[in-house]
């Protein structure tokens, strides 16, 4: 697929909707009348009033964000259950549960549909399913892909670690730590060169900090003022090593600040805080103001890979402690983080804001569960791949020769 772009004018987005719809307007009135917002103790206000930009969003958009978080969550749980209970299921995942608010808040501030030459691009990681769903990838096709089906998102070539769908700007997952962040600056370079206001976003874990490519990406993004946003999901561990084994900073964001890049630390469990930081970053990038670095403090409920320690029907993994790992996370750390669950925080905030009531919130969750169940049903009934197709897609055209037969 090659695209030769000529027109690069931006599309209007939902965010440009009339101000009368604005949530902030509503809240200002509430404040004037002396109403006090009750907030759940599980939500943090580390970055001040968390709802600044988010409060301006139309109700539907806020509810969409809630729905997206739920989609990610239930995709995770359903897949974990498949892995635990269905002997025929062959897929796997680097589970994202616990981090849903990051992907959701980030992608909610991006342009995710329209012509390819106008949408924003996302580079993901080895832990892509949350990013993919938030960016708008078709879930049934993704489910099929994860189980190596011929009609999956990428024809069964990719599986989880290489999911890709340029049609929604999801350049894709990548199993390697390093190449993606630098390559994402290249897309940003191209946007600037062709006068487009698109932005290029890379997700990276705390593990990406130590890579030589980290310097490369930030230094060049700053030098050239590229429309590039680095979203670092600091879930405290890369594989089984605590991030302090590889990083001398308490906040990895400080590393970006050193380059002169505007950087923010946000509560990654709170989708609206993530959205606010991202909105600011996207606005800056579109206006030619250069790169932004966002460090989201977050946590994953499962282990690095797969479902060891997890039980069918239960959220999270416990009691798995592999031999002789240099630093393995304590179980009480997992339990503590689960107290500040991104699903709860999002729902409670929307209830506080009067966007949803508990009944509607619960109904939406049921709808999402059904949607995900249907996605698995469809995905797992898709046909398997044709062996000879392995020789396709090496180059844009043709097939390469079979060589295994001598």
């Amino acid at each position: 697929m090659d695209r030769n772009l000529n027109s690069t004018a931006p599309l209007p987005t939902e965010d440009d909707a009339p101000a009368s719809q604005s949530r902030r307007g509503f809240l200002q009135i509430a404040a004037l009348t002396g109403a006090v917002l009750s907030t759940s103790g599980r939500r943090a206000f580390a970055d001040g009033d968390i709802g600044f930009h988010a409060k301006d969003l139309p109700d539907e958009k806020l509810v969409d964000m809630y729905r997206t978080i739920l989609r990610i969550r239930w995709h995770e749980r359903t897949q974990a259950d498949q892995m635990l209970a269905n002997p025929d299921y062959r897929g796997y995942n680097h589970f994202y549960a616990g981090q849903e608010a990051v992907a959701t808040g980030v992608c909610a501030a991006l342009r995710n549909d329209g012509p390819f030459e106008q949408i924003d691009l996302v580079y993901s990681t080895h832990r892509p399913s949350g990013h993919a769903i938030a960016k708008g990838v078709d879930i049934p096709k993704m489910v099929a892909e994860d189980d190596f089906r011929a009609t999956g998102l990428n024809g069964g070539y990719a599986a989880e670690m290489h999911l890709s769908d340029p049609s929604v700007g999801f350049i894709g997952a990548d199993g390697m730590i390093g190449p993606g962040h630098v390559t994402a600056t290249g897309s940003a370079f191209a946007f600037r060169a062709r006068g487009s206001d698109q932005v290029s976003v890379v997700f990276g874990g705390d593990g990406t900090y130590a890579t030589p490519q980290f310097h490369s990406a930030l230094n060049n993004a700053k030098l050239l003022d590229l429309p590039f946003i680095y979203v670092l999901e600091n879930n405290l561990y890369h594989q089984y090593a605590h991030y302090t084994y590889s990083c001398p900073h308490k906040d990895i964001a400080d590393a970006a600040t050193a380059y002169g890049i505007p950087a923010r630390v946000v509560d990654g469990q709170d989708v609206f805080q993530v959205y606010n930081a991202m909105k600011e970053a996207v606005d800056r990038a579109r206006a030619g103001g250069g790169p932004t670095f966002i460090e989201a403090k977050t946590y994953r409920y499962y282990n690095h890979w797969g479902a060891p320690g997890a039980k069918e029907g239960e959220l999270g993994a416990f009691g798995y402690d592999p031999l002789a790992i240099t630093s393995f996370r304590p179980e009480r750390e997992v339990r503590a983080w689960m107290q500040r669950d991104p699903v709860d925080i999002c729902r409670d905030t929307l209830v506080d804001w009067g966007v949803l009531d508990e009944a509607r919130a619960a109904a939406i969750e049921e709808e999402v569960k059904a949607e995900i169940a249907a996605a698995f049903e469809w995905g797992l009934s898709q046909p398997l791949c044709n062996p000879e197709d392995a020789l396709k897609h090496v180059f844009a055209e043709g097939t390469v020769a079979a060589r295994q037969f001598g």
Partner: protein, 322 residues
């Protein structure tokens, strides 16, 4: 049409493609995209297209290679000129990411990008990293990337057009020792295919196969051998991946004698692949291989020039074989 140097011919192609496509970008490091040629306008891509499209930064070849890849994935054609000192700095990116990306995404990744990888000029006295010639083998093993190595200004221009128009990522190797070549090169754009070897001379006694910086000395040797009455077929590989097996096999099926000549280190030089492909297809042929020894190039010109394959070596090996 005029006599043109290698670099002028190449930049003519790039300039044409950049004028055609206002989105196309070019990243460089030490070598500004500038060329002059007697009687022709100076080409300076940086001043013509501006620093938003044509840009250098610091000593970071990984970034250079990644940036054109990222541009390609975003839908913009892109090319970069990586100087020989950094020829393997972005290797992992090209080998493990770009090279696998189309396949891993089931055909969804778009990569209209060209990495011009300079190889040293093998200047005597420079030693080691500044005289080596080895990138052909490394890049040629990668699937998913077309690796080519033109050896004349004419091919250099035609293959640059083809590379820039190809939807596949292309590693375009440029042995800097060829910079002194000059030949007639058309002013208009034209394509030389990225997957065809060139038969430079036809013959029936012996097939000599080489590529890139090996070609000038091979052609010199062939002249002498022809003058001596040997009927020599000379093949310039040009495409390392995908290699044009048919042309090679047909030739040796006829001559039954194959001599490969490489400036690359002996072990796994392109000639090893040539011999292996031919030997599994042609019976009863005889083989010889001239290559750089499995040693880095030393500084001393006395040592280096003794090691580097030249026309005399080729002539000697050809005589032994026929």
């Amino acid at each position: 049409m005029a006599q043109k140097s290698w670099m002028y011919a190449v930049l003519e192609a790039v300039q044409y493609e950049m004028r055609e496509d206002p989105n196309m970008i070019w990243i460089f490091e030490l070598t500004p995209p500038v060329a002059s040629n007697p009687g022709l306008p100076v080409i300076n891509l940086e001043t013509e297209f501006g620093r938003k499209r044509v840009c250098n930064t610091g000593i970071d070849e990984y970034w250079m290679a990644a940036t054109v890849l990222g541009a390609g994935l975003a839908g913009s054609k892109a090319a970069t000129y990586i100087p020989y000192q950094g020829a393997l700095m972005p290797f992992e990116l090209i080998q493990n990411y770009a090279g696998k990306m189309r396949h891993m995404t089931g055909g969804k990744a778009s990569m209209p990008v060209v990495w011009i990888i300079e190889m040293t000029g093998q200047t005597p006295g420079f030693a080691g990293q500044h005289s080596c010639y080895e990138e052909d083998s490394y890049y040629m093993h990668i699937p998913g990337v077309r690796t080519v190595i033109p050896s004349t200004p004419y091919d250099a221009k035609g293959m640059m057009h083809a590379a820039l128009r190809s939807p596949d990522p292309v590693v375009y190797l440029y042995p800097a020792g060829l910079r002194t070549l000059v030949e007639e090169v058309p002013d208009e754009p034209y394509e030389v295919p990225l997957d065809k070897a060139a038969v430079r001379q036809e013959g029936s006694d012996l097939t000599i196969v080489s590529s890139g910086a090996g070609m000038p000395e091979v052609l010199k040797a062939a002249e002498t051998l022809t003058a001596e009455g040997m009927s020599v077929e000379v093949i310039d590989l040009r495409a390392l991946k995908e290699m044009d097996t048919e042309t090679l096999v047909n030739s040796v099926a006829k001559t039954k004698r194959l001599l490969t000549v490489d400036q690359s280190y002996y072990t796994l030089c392109p000639g090893a692949e040539v011999i292996a492909r031919v030997a599994t297809n042609v019976e009863g042929a005889k083989y010889k291989r001239v290559a750089f020894p499995d040693a880095p190039p030393p500084a001393s010109p006395e040592m280096f020039l003794w090691m580097r394959p030249n026309a005399e070596h080729v002539i000697g090996a050809a005589r032994d074989l026929v």
